[in-house]
């Protein structure tokens, strides 16, 4: 009973202030409430925190369910590094390349014991590898949900919003890739936007709308920059909030076959697993950024012949598909196949009519899904093995001597 009395004005029950027989310290706390009590009364934050910590997980929830939290953390990393980069980045064709070069080279300081540290390159490295790991983890997260059948009623919209988040993420990488305005940026964008131009009927207009003109130029760069730092982040924040709301509303789906055992609260077991996974996920990003910091090729040059075309690794599958399409069939690779896969992803909860979430009960979905995943995986691998690794800093001797478009100052 004395236990009870001590908790009278704990954050969990801050309003029970009418209790009698308060000890001196309790009375003092009542007279001069701590900041946490003060906030609790106005925000009710403690209830919110407790609700999330006590969220009941079905038995059998495991490491696979930690990916969502890793995604949240990596997203926070992208936003923080992105905001920092945008303070030094300049989105004009005459200045973009030079400003990224400055980020790469202009912020080195000597710290005792640690030696020389390149702050700009570190932040850019985290942003670049963060985006790759983010896409990787997103794919794992999607695969987990796919094989567990967690997209079934009532979680159809959670899945749908997740797919939209994935598209937004691909949009982030596509637009971000252009920003350094180097050779690979320029040509990847030329090819990527031309793909939109192949759409029958509206292709030409789409191309002009995306590029802001008929050629990739200054208006393309500002459009992509606006998308990268305004439109897509806004869309991502809204979609992520919706996704999390739905996840909390419907709770975690648990293993395919309900397992025996009581539900377990999120805190402490699952939260610990989350922390471990986030630690290693972030570790991988930092490690990659440290051992292989992102380079910068020569400035974008529409007339230079030194290009080594190479999109971001997760577009390599698409890139390979473009290569193997026979003459005149490029619409298959630019629109039809990616379109079918995208629409299939969106409609998955409605295509899969089986009541059971067990993979054996929805063989067609599992088989066709696995086939598609394997195809994409194989094409990506093929692309990875066949395309030369693109050059580092100042790649290609040809670039140095050539006139840069728009009188780039640096070269």
């Amino acid at each position: 009973m004395s236990e009870d009395k001590k908790q009278v004005i704990s954050p969990e029950s801050p309003v029970e202030t009418q209790a009698q027989n308060l000890t001196d310290s309790e009375q003092a706390r009542l007279d001069r409430p701590k900041l946490s009590d003060w906030l609790e009364l106005r925000l009710g934050w403690w209830g919110f925190v407790r609700k999330n910590l006590d969220e009941q997980m079905p038995a059998g929830v495991s490491w696979w369910q930690t990916l969502g939290n890793l995604l949240m953390t990596l997203l926070a990393f992208q936003f923080i590094t992105g905001i920092a980069l945008s303070m030094y980045y300049s989105s004009g064709p005459e200045s973009a390349h030079a400003s990224v070069k400055h980020i790469n080279e202009g912020f080195i300081s000597n710290i005792p014991i640690f030696g020389s540290i390149n702050w700009g390159l570190a932040v850019r490295g985290i942003h670049v590898y963060g985006s790759s790991v983010l896409v990787c983890v997103t794919v794992l997260h999607i695969l987990r949900v796919f094989f567990w059948g967690s997209y079934k009623k009532p979680r159809e919209l959670t899945w749908l919003v997740g797919v939209l988040i994935f598209f937004v993420m691909l949009g982030f990488s596509f637009t971000g890739y252009l920003l350094p305005w180097d050779q690979k940026a320029y040509w990847a964008t030329t090819v990527g936007t031309n793909m939109a131009g192949t759409i029958p009927g509206i292709g030409d207009s789409m191309l002009i709308l995306i590029r802001g003109g008929s050629e990739v130029g200054s208006l393309t760069l500002t459009r992509f920059y606006a998308a990268h730092v305004m439109i897509l982040p806004a869309a991502l924040i809204i979609l992520t909030a919706l996704h999390l709301y739905l996840v909390r509303k419907h709770h975690i789906a648990g293993p395919v076959l309900p397992q025996k055992g009581a539900t377990v609260p999120f805190w402490p077991n699952q939260l610990f697993k989350d922390a471990v996974v986030v630690f290693f996920g972030v570790g991988i990003v930092i490690y990659l950024a440290a051992v292989n910091p992102p380079g910068l090729e020569g400035v974008a040059n529409p007339t230079g012949t030194d290009l080594v075309p190479r999109p971001e690794w997760y577009y390599l599958g698409l890139y390979e598909m473009l290569k193997i399409m026979p003459a005149g069939w490029e619409l298959m690779a630019t629109l039809i196949i990616p379109g079918i896969v995208s629409v299939g992803m969106i409609l998955l909860p409605w295509l899969d009519k089986s009541k059971s979430r067990h993979p054996a009960m929805r063989q067609w979905i599992i088989i066709s899904g696995t086939a598609i995943i394997l195809m994409i995986g194989l094409m990506t691998l093929k692309g990875y093995l066949e395309t030369p690794v693109h050059g580092e800093e100042g790649h290609g001797p040809a670039v140095e001597g050539q006139a840069a478009p728009d009188g780039e100052a640096e070269h």
Partner: protein, 171 residues
């Protein structure tokens, strides 16, 4: 008709503050007002962002090479500069062309691959154009030999005047 109590001047009925008719009318009005407000913001933004669609490409004749610099049988990678508007900037942008004589005409191939726009390169020992992106190959006359493009290299109009070769280029 219990609303009558609240209503001094009217003869009680449809214009009572929350009669169904009144609710419907006000609902429609709010809808119309919101529509106007939405148009006020969407209209200008769509017009502004979509403006590049209305821009007309204009073509001009550019002097790129003196006649004697293009011997028969040779394919030349020619660079020339054009003063263009790129967004708010006016810049001298460099363009490239592959030029070759064919009879008494001059062919001017655009270096952008007709597949998805990478820059093709000419290898004189093989007499072929190669695209580094998805493996397209074109012959001397610009026709597809291998790879995914559905058509040959784009050609620009040319003319010979004042001992110079001129190219008609759209920007």
């Amino acid at each position: 008709m219990s609303d009558c109590k609240n209503c001094d001047n009217c003869d009680c009925g449809n214009d009572a503050p929350d009669s169904p008719e009144r609710r419907k009318l006000l609902g429609i009005s709010v809808g119309i007002i919101n529509g106007v407000i939405a148009t006020a913001i969407i209209g200008p933004v769509v017009g502004f962002v979509g403006a590049p669609l209305l821009q007309k490409r204009k073509g001009i004749w550019v002097k790129v090479l003196s006649e004697s610099d293009l011997p028969p049988g040779e394919t030349k990678d020619v660079k020339f500069t054009m003063h263009i508007k790129d967004g708010f900037m006016e810049v001298d942008r460099e363009y490239a062309l592959f030029m070759r004589r064919s009879g008494d005409k001059v062919l001017a191939f655009d270096p952008a691959c007709p597949h998805l726009g990478c820059r093709v390169d000419y290898q004189s020992d093989k007499g072929r154009f190669f695209c580094p992106c998805h493996g397209a190959v074109f012959d001397d006359a610009g026709a597809v030999v291998a790879g995914p493009p559905a058509r040959g290299l784009f050609e620009h109009k040319t003319k010979i005047e004042d001992d110079h070769i001129w190219v008609y280029r759209e920007v």
